[in-house]
Structures are given as C-alpha cells and as structure tokens.
C-alpha cells in the first residue's frame, strides 16, 4: 500500500478516536495507576489503543505494533516491515486533571526510518501530520521549517523531574534560554518546537513518546538526538532532545560541560 493511502486511513481512524474522547467527556472515567501514583492509565487510553490496533490489523494482518499500554518484547521486530508505534493518550495526567494538553500519537517506521507521523491535539482539533514524502501539515496547512534559533533566542520545553534533578546540567541550560515551559505532554511540547514556539524540547522518552514527533521534526529539518549527541534508536528509551540545529549544539555542549 502506498504512503498516501495509509495516510488517508490513519486520518480517518483519528477522526473516530476523537469521537471517543468527546464521548468520554460526558461520563466519569475509570483511572488506574501503573508504575507510580503519577503514572496513570484510563479506560479511554485502552479503548483508543484497542480501536487503533484493530483498525491497523484489519488492513495489515501482519502489522508490527508497539503501543504504550500493551507492547510485546521490543527485540522481536523485523525492521524491514512497517512498524507502528502508538500512544493512545499522551499526557494522561492532563487528560484526567484538565481535559486539555493531551495528544493521540502514531508513528510509522520502516528500516528504522520514519515514514509517517501523527500528533493529534484533540481538544484544539489540530492534527499535525506528515513525513518525508509529503512534508508536515497542521490539518490542511503546511508547516514551514522553523527558524534555526539558538538556545538564548527561544523557550525551552522540558519536564519537571529532569529539571529539578538537574539531569544533564539542565538547570544551567534552562537559565540560558528565554524561559522554561512544562506542559506535561511530549506530543504537545514537541508541537511547540515544530511550530517554532520553542527552540527545543528535552525529556526522557519512551518509544511511543517520541515516534510520531520524530518523523515530523526530522521532516522539518529539526534535529532529534540523544542529549549526548547520538542518533536515538527507535525502540530505546533515552534522554532525547528535539531542537533547532543551533539550539541542539548549544544544549549538547552545555550538557557535557562539568557540573
């Protein structure tokens, strides 16, 4: 199947998933904790995941799928086949507490190369989508590559734990930026880098946190590297930096400086 045919299917599935989100808003949502009291999963995460996995398997019976809420061993994949990486609700805490700033995310990879990426900011009805063949769009509007700003010319997106533990000299890096923003969702914060609202996003990310945003960021000419400057493996969990090229150089240099 061609990329644009896959693309049409995914856009349709996400429109269905949006209806599930809005239908959930009118009722009380079941919430459970996972690895810690602040690591949540809701029935909506599971419902959207099940829906997307079912749709993908209907069309691609041999599809390889990794999803946040149920993933097989990460070393059993054939890189030459399409790999689907799904986060049914990125920012579950935000969904539970605020009903805003969460995203549905899908990344499609082959041979460790991003083919298609989708970050759906559901409450603002903004679907960021695209890939190397078609470019990146917010709904129907094409995104231009953001300006190649330095760290001291823009806002820095990150997470609270990384900042307060000062991992990778992040406190010094934060002070060199125009200010820190913490939204509690990888997808929403990567959107801010894609659109040039922030110069970089630093966080410890799992494969499903990064897969979609990585395709979109790389397509727009942004860098996606580990904090020590290496290319992250699609299936690894690592400290990742999504940034303009200049901000990436500034941050990697400061992250490696003595504490």
């Amino acid at each position: 199947m061609k990329k644009n045919e896959i693309d049409h299917l995914v856009v349709e599935w996400l429109a269905q998933a949006k209806k599930m989100v809005f239908s959930s808003s009118s009722r009380k949502i079941m919430v459970e904790t996972k690895t810690s009291r602040n690591d949540l999963v809701t029935e909506l995460d599971r419902q959207i995941e099940k829906f997307l996995v079912t749709q993908i398997k209907n069309v691609f019976p041999t599809a390889q799928i990794i999803s946040e809420e149920s993933h097989p061993k990460l070393d059993e994949f054939d890189p030459q086949q399409l790999l689907w990486i799904i986060d049914p609700i990125d920012g579950t805490m935000n969904f539970v507490k605020t009903r805003r700033d969460f995203a549905i995310m899908i990344g499609v990879y082959q041979n460790n190369q991003g083919q298609l990426g989708y970050i759906y900011d559901v409450m603002n009805d903004c679907l960021y989508h695209g890939g190397p063949e078609k470019g990146v769009f917010c709904n129907q509007q094409r995104l231009l590559p953001p300006a190649n700003l330095s760290l001291n010319q823009g806002l820095l997106e990150t997470g609270a734990l990384m900042l307060l533990h000062n991992r990778c000299n992040l406190q010094k890096i934060a002070l060199a930026s125009n200010g820190v923003r913490i939204y509690g969702s990888a997808g929403i914060q990567i959107i801010r880098v894609l659109t040039g609202q922030a110069v970089g996003y630093v966080s410890h990310l799992k494969p499903w946190d990064l897969a979609a945003g990585r395709v979109l960021a790389e397509t727009l000419g942004l860098t996606v590297k580990t904090i020590d400057g290496h290319i992250p493996d699609v299936l690894s969990s690592v400290d990742v930096l999504v940034a303009s090229k200049n901000a990436q150089e500034d941050i990697v240099r400061m992250a490696q400086a003595p504490y």
Copy 2:
C-alpha cells in the same frame, strides 16, 4: 458608581483591548527588554495600558491606578478610594514567542479588599471575571468553588526560576504533587487553580501579577497567602500561594520544614 456599572464598563474596555491584540497579530511587534534579557515589554503592552488608563480616567478623573508598565510610588495611595491595578499583557514572553497563554488583567480594590477582578485569556476568548458581590464567571458561565484537594491530589503550577533555585523547599513540594506545570503567565496559571485544573500556584508576584486573580480566588473560597502563611499586602511583591485550603496547608508546612 455601583459595582455592576463599573463591571459593564470594564467588560466593554476589554472587548476593545482584544481588538488591539488581534490587530497587532498581523504586523511585526516592537519588543524591548526591561530589567533583564527575558523581561520584555512590547508596544502592545504600552498601547493597551494607555487605552485602559485613559478609559478609567475618563470615567473616574481622580482614579488611583497602578500598572505594570508605568506606576507611581506605591506608598502614595489612599486605601479608602478605588485602586485599579492593571497588567496590560501578563505573559509578554509568551505573547512574543507563541501568541498564546497571555492575559490582560485588572483588579479593583478598596480598603485593601478586592472588589472586582478580570483575567482575560484573549486567544481562547475566555474572560474570567467577578468579585464578592456577584461571584466568579468564565464569560457567562458561573464557576463553582473547586474541590478542596490536598497537594498530593492535584497538579502544581509554578515558575522555573523558583523551582530550580528550590526556593521554599519547592522541589520537595513539587514531588509531593501530581506533577508540575509551567506556563509562563501568572494569569493563565491562576485560571487553572480557579477552575480546579491545578491545586495550587506558587510564584514570586508583583502587585499587578496577583491583583485580579486574588479577587477571583478569594471569592471562590481559595486561599491567597504568602508562602509562609501570611496575608499578602496588595501593594507588595512577595512569594505567593494561590491554592485550595488543604493544598495550602500542605505547602506551607513543607515550605517551612528544614531543607
């Protein structure tokens, strides 16, 4: 003049100010730095401030007005007269970098008591307004007092500098919450406490950062105290906590514990 007559006037002025914001979006905005490279003022701050001050003085020729961009000595005020406290653009860095998450704010005080408060989230067209006589509204919808949650039951809003300098044990307090959010605007972050999306907001605030939100928060039964548990003076710059009563008790206790 009665409160509800003042209220009608202010709502009309804010509708005019909104037009100034949208008209500014179509052109390049002049930006200057103030006390540091990340403390900005734009021509729009000055334009909205001038407009609001002019409107207030037209109706109340002897009005006492404090505004972020031009304020007289803070000890010359007669507390028995109406005091207007204005932040023409709260979150100027956000306005410059992202065109979202900024607010126009007005607080009206008499005898050190909040009478009317206005936080206008312009880009979402949500005006939070009210006071002890009429209650608190988002546009036409009345807000109910948020649940009296503890710190470990909700999100904590703050600013990056306070967090990374660990002022008032804030890192430990942050870890006890459900997560930290940093939006870069006192008004936008106080809205999150007013609406129950967060249990508290901690920050070092100037009079114009707090005046509007304080009226609305106190009207909804939230506490507005200094971080060491005292009632803040309307004209002082202090470390302030806007929170549910239970979260306030948790935070004050932890802020005073040994480091």
